[in-house]
């Protein structure tokens, strides 16, 4: 046992890598903010309740942004999520029971959240909505909404596809029942001059996503653009395109490290980013501003964090940020 341990330690000392790995990550983390709060306001508790499923990259970045802001603003930050409307409403109720000082919610399923958000505002808890629900946010009594207007983002995609001279596109929806996703594809359809088709896939099952796109590309050789609605699915689409021997250009919503490298390698055409980090960061920061100074941003309109079209030109700079999980 001891010999094995010594051998392992010895090997790791001898075989040091001067680049990358855990150590590089630690150095980067040290160089970043040390997590000390920069203010002397009381330690408020803010809760964030989202409609995310388990293990979702996008929401991981939102959470990171929120935690970074909470660290700076001396906030105790609680995060919970559930992709079922009823469960999400119950989680918001639980946050109200805990008498939090501020609440951040997503309104992907607005009707389900209506009553419970009203309860929060009645209890005097300031609410900020993020990511989805720009239309309902004000009506439900939230201070402001931070996110991307999905229709506008979709329209930006349609315009970009036109600029790239595409004729027949495929929109891959990976979450059945998500109204925001429907709006994205509808927006793209609206501004796109060519033909746009929707394809539903099972987002929680990557091989199935790949197989579905593959089948569609094999069945229709005229498809020259595939738009996925989430970064992890772009990769599956690229693989499907290779297998199907298709000429289609793959474009995607959202960023991650793989998308950034794929953009640099020209494997992807473009990405539409809605800057999730900002959504988490600003939500916490704006709640803090409201409690500290009564400030509200946005003048009663949603504060937009996107769409930002990213092509191979910008990808190089963003690659380092995606690697540390903040873009």
């Amino acid at each position: 046992m001891g010999a094995v341990l010594a051998a392992v330690l010895g090997a790791s000392l001898v075989g040091c890598s001067s680049t990358g790995g855990k150590r590089a990550e630690e150095r980067a983390a040290q160089a970043a903010a040390e997590g000390r709060s920069a203010v002397n306001t009381p330690r408020w508790t803010f809760a964030m309740v989202t409609h995310s499923g388990d293990g979702d990259t996008f929401w991981d970045i939102v959470q990171r942004g929120a935690e970074q802001a909470a660290g700076k603003d001396n906030i105790k930050f609680l995060y919970s999520h559930n992709d079922e409307a009823q469960q999400q409403a119950q989680l918001v109720q639980a946050a109200i029971d805990q008498k939090v000082d501020g609440l951040i919610v997503t309104l992907a399923k607005p009707d389900a959240m209506k009553d419970v958000v009203a309860k929060a505002t009645k209890a005097g808890i300031p609410v900020i909505t993020v990511n989805s629900g720009s239309a309902e946010s004000k009506q439900f009594g939230a201070l402001t909404h931070i996110g991307q207007d999905e229709s506008i983002a979709g329209e930006a995609v349609g315009d970009e596809l036109n600029a790239r001279g595409r004729k027949k596109a495929l929109c891959i929806l990976h979450e059945q029942g998500n109204v925001g996703h429907e709006q994205r594809c509808a927006g793209a359809k609206k501004t796109f001059d060519g033909q746009m088709q929707n394809l539903y896939v099972e987002g929680t099952n990557m091989p199935d996503v790949q197989a579905s796109i593959e089948a569609k590309l094999q069945a229709d050789k005229n498809i020259d653009a595939v738009v996925t609605l989430g970064a992890p699915f772009a990769d599956a689409a690229v693989k499907a395109k290779k297998t199907a021997g298709s000429k289609a250009e793959i474009d995607t919503f959202d960023l991650n490290a793989k998308v950034a490298t794929a953009l640099q390698d020209k494997a992807l055409g473009f990405a539409v980013d809605q800057q999730p980090y900002l959504q988490g960061y600003e939500a916490v920061d704006l709640l803090w501003l409201y409690r500290f100074n009564g400030n509200v941003l946005g003048g009663g309109r949603p504060v937009l964090t996107g769409p930002q079209i990213i092509t191979s030109k910008d990808a190089a700079e963003l690659a380092q940020y995606t690697k540390r999980g903040t873009r």
Binding site: Q93, Q176, V179, Y200
Partner: protein, 350 residues
């Protein structure tokens, strides 16, 4: 020269008529293990989470438990009868969708949609039971097929009829308010909100318990779950019993579906997937055997309550929700082990 020993009659005690002490009878109850588990979970969260013991939190926990418990009671009966229903989760969503879309498309009083939804949901339950008894395939396979078909139907029909993935709002239609009172109202008692689902849950568990312990049908359930062929041989109507059990699950799915619809007014077509396992977990934690023939309805309620306490307790304790599923799985194993141990002890002392 051997004499055949006859039954030692004089004492006249048939072992089936033997009086058992109340304590022993209590120890022999299927739900005993889960009650111990529930007490443990309650004490645990009371210690680690300050806000868990607030009265308002109790309302939230009970609501969470009731949404599972309403389904767990008939699912427990079905499992005692030796069968599964993997379509129970999406059936709840189907029931809500039918109700909402029928009312909207026909511009009918909302109660008409509610009634039509009951018929459709019961028909799906009957289909499950009928297919099972006709094909002799395991219920696992039959209901897995129904589960997938319903998932597709939910989305396909909703898209076809409403044009989007969720139904249209019916909150401004006639009958909505009265239906909301029945399926999704709440009362405030001493500043704490109690949802009407808690009442539905209590009533359903009471009925299920009465059926199991006090009626002939209840005996049939135990018989078909324990040994279907033997039950048939002594004249138990196996087919009718099993179809009846599936109808029970369908009825509860209808209640849950109407609650979804009337509390949120709009139904998302993609929901409900995966909940069927949660109902089964609640029943198993409550002492149902996965092989059938043993269990109780009260146990399913305790199982649902444990589930509600855990899912919300983790939030009150301000833990990282990433670990929730792990915690749940560990709890399932512990509860089942405890059940098995308690049962063994009870049987050994008989």
């Amino acid at each position: 020269m051997s004499t055949i020993a006859g039954p030692s009659a004089p004492t006249g005690a048939d072992e089936r008529l033997m009086r058992t002490s109340p304590l022993r009878r209590l120890l022999g109850r299927p739900e005993l293990g889960s009650v111990v588990g529930a007490a443990a979970v309650f004490i645990f969260f009371s210690i680690v989470a300050d806000s868990f013991l607030r009265a308002s939190s109790l309302g939230t926990v009970l609501y969470a438990a009731s949404t599972i418990g309403i389904m767990a009671a008939p699912v427990a009966l079905l499992m005692i009868g030796g069968e599964f229903d993997l379509s129970a989760g999406v059936l709840v969503t189907s029931s809500a969708l039918v109700s909402s879309m029928f009312s909207y498309q026909m511009t009918a009083n909302v109660w008409v949609g509610v009634f039509v939804s009951l018929l459709v949901t019961l028909a799906i339950g009957a289909f499950n039971g009928f297919m099972l008894t006709r094909t002799k395939l395991p219920s696992f396979i039959i209901t897995l097929g129904t589960f997938l078909m319903l998932t597709g139907l939910n989305l396909g029909f909703t898209k076809l009829i409403s044009g989007t993935v969720s139904t249209k709002a019916i909150g401004d239609m006639e009958g909505f308010d009265s239906a909301r009172k029945v399926f999704a109202s709440q009362w405030t008692i001493g500043g704490v909100e109690f949802k009407v689902t808690i009442l539905w849950w209590a009533v359903l568990v009471a009925i299920a318990t009465w059926i199991l312990l006090r009626t002939r049908f209840g005996n049939w359930i135990f018989a078909v779950g324990g040994e279907a062929d033997a039950a048939r041989a002594v004249g138990v109507p196996v087919i009718r019993t099993k179809i009846g059990l599936y109808l029970g699950v369908a009825f509860a799915a209808w209640v849950s579906g109407q609650h979804l619809l009337f509390s949120f007014d709009v139904v998302q077509s993609g929901e409900g997937v995966g909940n069927e396992l949660i109902y089964i977990i609640a029943a198993v934690i409550g002492g149902c055997l996965i092989t059938g023939g043993y269990g109780s309805a009260i146990g399913s309620a305790v199982g649902a309550f444990i589930f509600g306490m855990t899912s919300k307790g983790i939030v009150y304790a301000e833990w990282n929700p990433d670990w929730f599923k792990f915690f749940l799985g560990a709890m399932l194993l512990l509860a089942t082990l405890l059940n098995a141990w308690v049962r063994k002890r009870a049987e050994a002392t008989k």
